[in-house]
Structure formats: C-alpha cells, structure tokens
C-alpha cells in the first residue's frame, strides 16, 4: 500500500468525553495514518456519510455513555447501505465485556476497552483493513 491508512475517528451520540478519542487520533497520526476527526455529537448518518466521502479504510467509534448497543450497529448498517462494506469498523469506550459478542455479530471487528494500549489498536487496524 503506497498510501497512508485513512481512519475516521468518530464520537456518535451525545457523549462529550473525548479524551480517549483524541489520544487515539494522535497515536494513529504518529503511526503514519491520516485521521479524520469529526468532533462531538455525530449522528450515525453523518458518520457513515463522512466515511464514504473520505474513503476511509477504518471507522473508529468512541462511546462512553452506554449507548453503544444502539449506535454501533446502526452505523455499521448505514455503511453497508452506502456501499462501505469494505470499511473496518472498530469501537472503544465504556463497554461491558458481555456486550462485545453482540457488537461483533453486528459487524464491529474489535472493541478496545479501557486500558488497551494504543499500540494494540494500531496493530489491529494495520492487520485487518480490507483493502490493499
């Protein structure tokens, strides 16, 4: 791949805690990726549309408000509807272990819970993006 990996870091819903999203965005940039960061209060539609227009390899969602079970699958479905099946979708935040299998079934490739080193997320993205 002779281009940087492009990642959309997004905060869907009303949650305003963006320390993690910003730290991850910086870490991804330091790892040589282009990070589109869209800020707070993104609706699933806005996130999916941005992902398509920016032709990202990966969408990284951050939710700490407990609304992940509702928001994450919605975003995955919207991406599919818009032809973005080849986009890797990962998530992070305050997400109980028991919710993770459900999220994976809904199309989230990985969930990075509190304490995950940024290197793990970076490696996962590098190894799992679907396009060359």
């Amino acid at each position: 791949m002779n281009r940087p990996i492009r990642v959309l870091v997004a905060k869907p819903g009303l949650d305003g805690h963006d320390r993690g999203a910003k730290v991850v965005a910086r870490a991804l940039r330091d790892a040589g990726m282009e990070v589109i960061y869209t800020g707070l209060r993104q609706t699933p539609e806005q996130i999916a549309e941005a992902a398509i227009q920016e032709d990202v390899d990966c969408v990284a969602l951050s939710v700490l408000s407990g609304a992940h079970n509702h928001l994450f699958p919605k975003i995955v479905n919207l991406l599919r509807d818009k032809g973005g099946d080849d986009i890797l979708v990962v998530g992070g935040g305050v997400i109980p272990e028991e919710d993770i299998p459900g999220l994976k079934d809904a199309g989230i490739a990985a969930v990075f819970t509190p304490g995950t080193p940024t290197g793990i997320a970076i490696d996962f993205i590098k190894q799992n993006i679907k396009r060359a």
Binding site: G13, L14, G16, R19, A25, A27, P96, E97, G115, P117
Partner: protein, 548 residues
C-alpha cells in the same frame, strides 16, 4: 562540616551502592520532587502571610475555623440512572446508609436539553443518569425526600435554570419555600466547552443565563450555591494538577467578571460561588493543590476584585475522586485507589466528597459497589484520625514547598489566559484544550512506555474473567419515558404551556431575568426540551471547534 553536608556525602556513597529507582523524580505537573525537603525549603514562606489560620485569609489552612472537628464533610454520592422511580429508590438507599446529601446525575439528553423522545436521545435515555423530561419526573425523583432537610447537588449545566426551576416547584408542592432550600447546581458552561461537552447555547447567551441565576438566587434562594466552578472534568480530560487549578480559577474569574458586568454586587453573589475539584493518586500533590487553590482564589477575590466580605474570598469545594485513575483490570484494586484519594481530599480540606465505586471503568455502580465507596469515606472519617485536627499536613517542608510551587505555576497560567483576553477567549482559541490534550497524550505515552505504572494494567497483571453483577440500565427506559411524555402532553393545559413558552421567548429576546419565566413554564409542565428549544431559537447553538 554541617549535618547537611555530611548527609550529602552519605548520599553520594549510597547512590554508588544503590542508584535511585529513577533518573529523575518529576511529578504529574512537571514539578521536580527533591529527595528531601528541609527547613531551607520553607524558610521564605512566612506563616502569617501564607498560611495564617483556618477560617482566616488567605484560608490556606481551611475555610472554617474548626473544620471537621465541628462537622464532617458532606458525604454526597453522585447517583442517578434510568427512571426517576429507580433513582428515587437509590437516593433513599444511600440516605439510609448514612449519606448526608444528595447528588443527582442526569442522563445526556436531559443535560443537553432534549426530551426522551428526541431523535438524538435514542439509545441514551437513562444511561448515564436519570431522565427528567418535565416537572412530573422531578416530583417522582424527590418523592418522600424532604427538601427542607436534605441538600441536593445537581450536576446540570446548560439547562441548569430549568432544573433549578423544577426543584423550586417540587419544593413548593411540599410546602417548602425557596429560602429554605439548600444545594448546588453545577452551572459551569466554560468547562463544558473545554472538557465535558454538554453545551447547548453560545458563550455570551450562556453567561446571561448563569448571571440570571446568580441574581435570582441572591434574592430568592439565598442558601443555594449557584455555581460549582469545576476542575474535576478538566483533570479527567487529562490535565495536570497545576492546570486543574489554573483553568478552574480562570473560569471563576470569567464568571465573576460576567456577574459584575451584569450589575451584581460582588459581595452579594460571590459567597455562593463554590468549586469542584478532582482527587488523584499523588496524595501529597493533591493536598498541596487544594491548599494552593484556596490561597490563590482568596488573593484573587481580595486583590483583583476588591471583595470585602470574607465569605467572598473563601474557596469552598466539593471533591470527586478521579474516575480516570480507576482501571477495568482487577476492579477491587480501585477500592484502594479511592481510599488514597479520599485521604487526599480530606487532608486537603474538602467541604463535600463523592467517592467512586470500584466498577467505575465498567459501568454505573452496583448497589454493593456504591456502598463500599460510601464506607470508604466513613472509615476515613471515623477510624483514621485525620479529622481530629485541622490541616494536619501543614508545616511539612514538602507540602508547603509544593503548595507554594503550585500556586506560582497556576498564577502563571492565569496570567497567560488574562493576556489572551480571559477564559472565554482562551477557550475560543483552544488554549486550555491544547494544554489538556498534550498532557493527556504525554500521560498515555508514559503508561505505554512503562514509565508510569498502573498496577494491574501495565504491571502485576493477571488473567481475568468477565466481571459479574454490573449494573445494566433497562433499554426499555427510553420507551417508558416516551410513553410518559405522551401522557403528560395529553393531560396538561397545553394552551397555558404555549402561552408560557411565548412569554419566555419574548423575555429571552430582551434583557429580563429569565428565571421567573422558566419557573412559570415548568409549573405548567412544559417539558425540558420545549423550554430549551425556545431558548435555542433565540440564542442559537454553540459551534464546536477542535484543535487537535
């Protein structure tokens, strides 16, 4: 050879045999921590000028003369989730277990002025706090809780005026007049822009609402703390202890400026300003931080603003132990962390305290977890002995040096912010946000490089199984609230609601104090969303801008 010189040669010998654990000992705020502090370090810190006595300017040693010997801090656990009924149950439980004040957590839609049936509320209703759509929910929330006996803190910012109005209306129905009400609303919009994100309106309009509340309460709800100027969230977003003090006090300065500009007399509103700080693991730095904050604020109020009432100069604060320090790994360890942080807050002289529960990184606290958190406060209060005397760490060469150092560094930041035109302008330029992000990133890098140890997370890890017994919010809450809203709108006098909202809109376009209009609308069971939408239509919405 002096003793000190003897010691220094002893050190040289010791270092060759056993080098120190680190090349440099630097604390979280970037302050170098010396091997030893001695009288030389505090020789220039004059007692009367810099410390004085508790209850006396500059209040370094505490804002009350007898502190915990007279009365312990208020044990006030932040709680709220799902429906008003559920939260009411949790409040009664906590009061029964010995909690001495209520603290209400609202869900995100409520905090951002959306009703539970708004499209943006989907998936969020009742998740991080209780859903309050109207006075009806508020009545249920405080059912059976006597508002003249219990003080309530409400963590609400942009729509604080509405929730306060609802609280006043609920009290009315209980036969309690507003002058008897005691409590706090957070009402600190600047930190929302910096670090927390539940803003609605633009800066100037938000300041208008805030000063309206100051003015209204000064005459009508005199025992109410009209603002809780917050550093907690700034610290949670990743700032250092120095930045926490500096940015919080800078925000405080902005609010005082705004109130004075609105024509209020400083000694009338300033006594009701309160603060809200974080309590982290570096116990001694935290104690120094709290003392430095008190001293700095007292000087600011006296010298910069010319306050005359001693109560205007007293920095009274609530503390919450640092949520971001707690780990998802080996959650029981968090009980210990919270105990250390509790000690820090108490040795630092807090007026009220919330202790986090061990499952903080995983979910909202279960009943068992929140009970342990409360017990932590009680054990420190009754068993540790630190409450037997006032400001016990005063005089420590280290703590006094650190207090002075933090005060100095925080003052430098405040000057920088002044040069940028004040807190609001500094926020516009992203100054605080960038400082915080840089600190947050540095912290993360230190953890990943192993330079900073978090027990159980990057050292002393174990294989763990999925924790059990976590609190889950029933997803049906959203549906339940929507139904309640439908019923409410069918039952209430909709004509009155429309009239009241019209009156509010008119007043919002002018200069009047909006509290009476909001209280009237709330009494008619106008919903939170309806009231905020009226204000949105007049004020507009805050535009986020991020500098990464």
């Amino acid at each position: 050879m002096s003793d000190k010189e003897k010691w220094e040669s002893l050190i040289e010998k010791t270092l060759t045999k056993r080098p120190e654990r680190k090349a440099e000992f630097i604390n979280g705020s970037g302050i170098t921590v010396k091997r030893l502090y001695d009288p030389e370090d505090t020789a220039n810190i004059g007692y009367d000028e810099n410390l004085s006595y508790p209850g006396m300017y500059p209040y370094t040693r505490g804002v009350q003369p007898t502190m915990y010997r007279g009365r312990l801090w208020t044990m006030r656990q932040y709680a709220g989730f799902a429906t008003a009924e559920e939260s009411n149950k949790r409040y009664k439980y906590l009061l029964n277990q010995g909690q001495t004040g209520l603290s209400v957590a609202f869900d995100l839609p409520t905090q951002i002025g959306y009703d539970s049936d708004h499209s943006l509320s989907e998936g969020e209703v009742g998740k991080v706090g209780v859903a309050i759509d109207s006075l009806k929910d508020m009545e249920i929330l405080f059912d059976g809780i006597p508002l003249d006996k219990v003080s309530t803190s409400m963590t609400i910012n942009s729509p604080a005026s509405v929730l306060l109005a609802m609280y006043i209306a609920v009290a009315e129905k209980q036969g309690v007049t507003p002058d008897k009400l005691s409590g706090t609303i957070q009402n600190d919009i600047l930190k929302e822009y910096i670090a927390r994100g539940t803003y609605i309106f633009p800066t100037e309009e938000s300041m208008r609402l805030i000063t309206n509340i100051f003015e209204y309460c000064a005459s009508n709800v005199p025992k109410w703390n009209t603002i809780s100027i917050s550093g907690y969230h700034i610290r949670e977003a990743g700032s250092t202890a120095v930045q926490e003090v500096a940015f919080t006090l800078a925000d405080g300065i902005a609010y005082v400026d705004a109130a004075i500009k609105a024509g209020l007399d400083i000694d009338e509103f300033a006594p009701r300003l309160s603060f809200f700080f974080n309590s982290h693991n570096d116990l001694l730095e935290e104690v120094a931080k709290f003392r430095a904050a008190r001293k700095l604020w007292a000087k600011i109020m006296k010298e910069r603003f010319g306050a005359k009432n001693p109560k205007s100069m007293m920095l009274r604060f609530h503390t919450q132990t640092g949520g971001s320090t707690l780990t998802a790994q080996q959650p029981d360890n968090n009980v210990v962390r919270v105990a250390v942080q509790t000690l820090a807050a108490v040795l630092g002289g807090t007026q009220s305290l919330h202790t986090n529960s061990r499952d903080e990184a995983l979910a909202l606290p279960s009943e068992d977890s929140v009970r342990i958190a409360l017990r932590t406060q009680q054990i420190v209060a009754y068993e540790s002995g630190v409450t037997e005397t006032v400001d016990p760490l005063a005089g420590s060469y280290y703590v006094e040096s650190l207090t002075t150092e933090i005060e100095k560094k925080a003052a430098e930041y405040i000057k920088k912010i002044d040069d940028l035109g004040g807190a609001a302008k500094a926020i516009e330029r992203g100054f605080m946000q960038k400082e915080i992000q840089d600190s947050a990133y540095k912290y993360q890098k230190e953890i990943e490089k192993g330079e900073r140890i978090v027990v159980g997370m990057n050292k002393f890890e174990i294989e763990e199984s999925t924790p059990k017994g976590l609190l889950r919010v029933d997803p049906a809450v959203g549906e339940m609230q929507k139904q309640k809203l439908e019923n409410l709108k069918a039952e209430r006098d909709n004509k009155k609601v429309i009239d009241d909202l019209e009156a509010l809109k008119k007043a919002a376009s002018g200069d009047e104090n909006l509290m009476p209009y909001i209280i009237e609308a709330v009494r008619s069971y106008a919903t939170l969303g309806e009231i905020c939408d009226v204000l949105r239509s007049v004020f507009g919405e805050y535009q986020q801008s991020v500098i990464l």
